[in-house]
Symmetry: C2
Subunit: 322 residues, 2 copies
């Protein structure tokens, strides 16, 4: 949560002059979002989010992300809609950063999701998978098996500083997953980071799906496995099967999992836990002490990985085969 | 800029249930304000700022600050209006902190004020001084002569770590100001921290005066001297007399300075520079490396202090005696 890049009065005025959205009424840095700088922008035409993309987002990927958001919004998904300037452009440059203005989505993210929220997020995820089926651009998942290996190569024995035995555990898990990772499952565009702070609720509806900056083409069921990790644990070790059942059932009502996807869920969940374990270990080791953002605790994902290692079949997630 | 205190879903729901402001539509941490945690709150009834007061604000002072904001707003000043709950209360407790909900003020603070902004802020400051004249509660200025001495006692020779010779310079300045500080000037409620980020503009009007959490009873002209320091320097050493003239003239059109105030301006400006130098040196020395907020550079105020030390009379600020 931070504003990494300040925008001067002149830069902001010049930027907004390119849009047909009336006079500026308010402009405030938002303390949400770990990767990029976000400003709340209010004009005579409504409310917007202005995002300045920081180093971790590759500029070449932005047309994919912004195109996907527009594609989903056009199909009725509550993704932020990129706003086009007077020349029809979405992607801009501001204060030396790539930047884009998108519509503001009402709603609140829940700090402690209940099973009803998990059901709603399962349904939204399936709708997103279906709505993105005809989205033509492609982006490989930089954080799948090969990416995990590269990331671990930069970590190595330093993982021991996070927890004794962690380096060996990750190495073994990488070997296991390299052999066990499923092939031939349905693919498509996945969100790949659908954590609670990226889903807004208004009453009993999902009013916003945000932060598509990890979206990519990969196994659809892997996105479900990420959500199992992100939404269905009470504490590092406590798997809430009621929440998982709600999430998986609601997903399946919109897009039934194939039998092969169902059978692969435990492996995919291990992969998802390892993916977040690795990025968190990396951030934990590389965040300078004076950084504006405190890194997440990696150990929550070590415990989740251990949980999934102990799972016998997808039935342990509360879902019967379909 | 930080969110120091997180609010849980349940705490937020219980808090808002006490108000008659409709359903919650949005809730976002704001990356502005150094001392407290601020959330942008949107409900069916409009937009608000929810402030959770962190340790540096004394809870016993909050009725003064909130009462002052209400007093000023009732008199047409663009201060945030504290919102009363169903029981008529302004001051609440939320997530273990004192908290209050106030109206959201449209507008933008200017990163680089122009002379026209300085004139507008001078006029607003004078209007505030007049509007607060019948505000009965009193609060002593904890950051005047005695407070500076106490603060310096906690710093002492550590000031040398900020700049060589700084400890002696501060000591000398404290002695000088103790003898030279004016007595008998007009007193009243001052803002005491009216920096550019605490003033919002919409077009050619001041649309918001915020952050009254240093407000207190003191010499009115000392508030003017704080604004000279805060608004009229281009860089640490470069005094912009055009801006100062604009600020002082506009102030005087609403509330003319007495001759004694005019004559005291250089001393008051030295005091104001020393006040911010001291708090910045203190923060510089005491901010842990992993803090969410980076301290301001103290040396800008050392340079301003030196500038005011070199001033012969208030004429050097661009203002003729009145």
């Amino acid at each position: 949560m931070a504003v990494y890049t300040e925008v001067s009065d002149e830069e902001l005025a010049a930027f907004l002059a390119g849009y047909d959205i009336g006079e500026l009424l308010s402009f405030k840095g938002i303390a949400e979002g770990v990767e990029n700088t976000n400003y709340y922008v209010q004009t005579e035409a409504g409310a917007f989010i202005l995002t300045l993309y920081e180093k971790r987002v590759a500029a070449r990927d932005l047309p994919f992300f912004l195109g996907l958001m527009e594609h989903l919004a056009e199909r009725g998904l509550p993704a932020p809609t990129p706003v086009r300037d007077r020349k029809g452009r979405v992607l801009q440059e501001l204060a030396g950063r790539p930047a884009a203005l998108v519509s503001f989505r009402d709603g609140l993210w829940v700090r402690r999701p209940r099973p009803s929220h998990c059901a709603l997020v399962g349904r939204s995820l399936a709708r997103m998978h279906l709505a993105a089926a005809d989205f033509a651009p492609r982006r490989a998942n930089a954080l799948s098996l090969a990416g995990w290996r590269e990331l671990f190569a930069t970590i190595g024995e330093d993982a021991e500083r996070v927890a004794p035995g962690l380096a060996a555990l990750i190495k073994d898990e990488l070997s296991f997953l390299a052999g066990a990772w499923p092939k031939g499952l349905p693919e498509g565009v996945i969100h790949a980071d659908l954590f609670p702070d990226n889903v807004f609720f208004l009453g009993e509806e999902v009013s916003g799906l945000i932060d598509f900056y990890f979206a990519c083409n990969d196994l659809l069921a892997y996105d479900v496995a990420i959500c199992l990790n992100a939404w269905c644990f009470e504490a590092p070790k406590e798997f809430n099967i009621t929440k998982a059942k709600a999430l998986l059932r609601a997903y399946g009502e919109v897009r039934p999992l194939t039998r092969a996807e169902y059978d692969s869920l435990p492996i995919l969940a291990r992969g998802a836990a390892l993916r977040f374990l690795l990025t968190r270990v990396h951030d934990w080791l590389h965040t300078p002490a004076d950084a504006l953002v405190r890194p997440h605790d990696p150990l929550a994902y070590l415990e989740r990985l251990r949980f999934h290692q102990s799972v016998a079949s997808a039935r342990d997630y509360g879902l019967d085969p379909q």
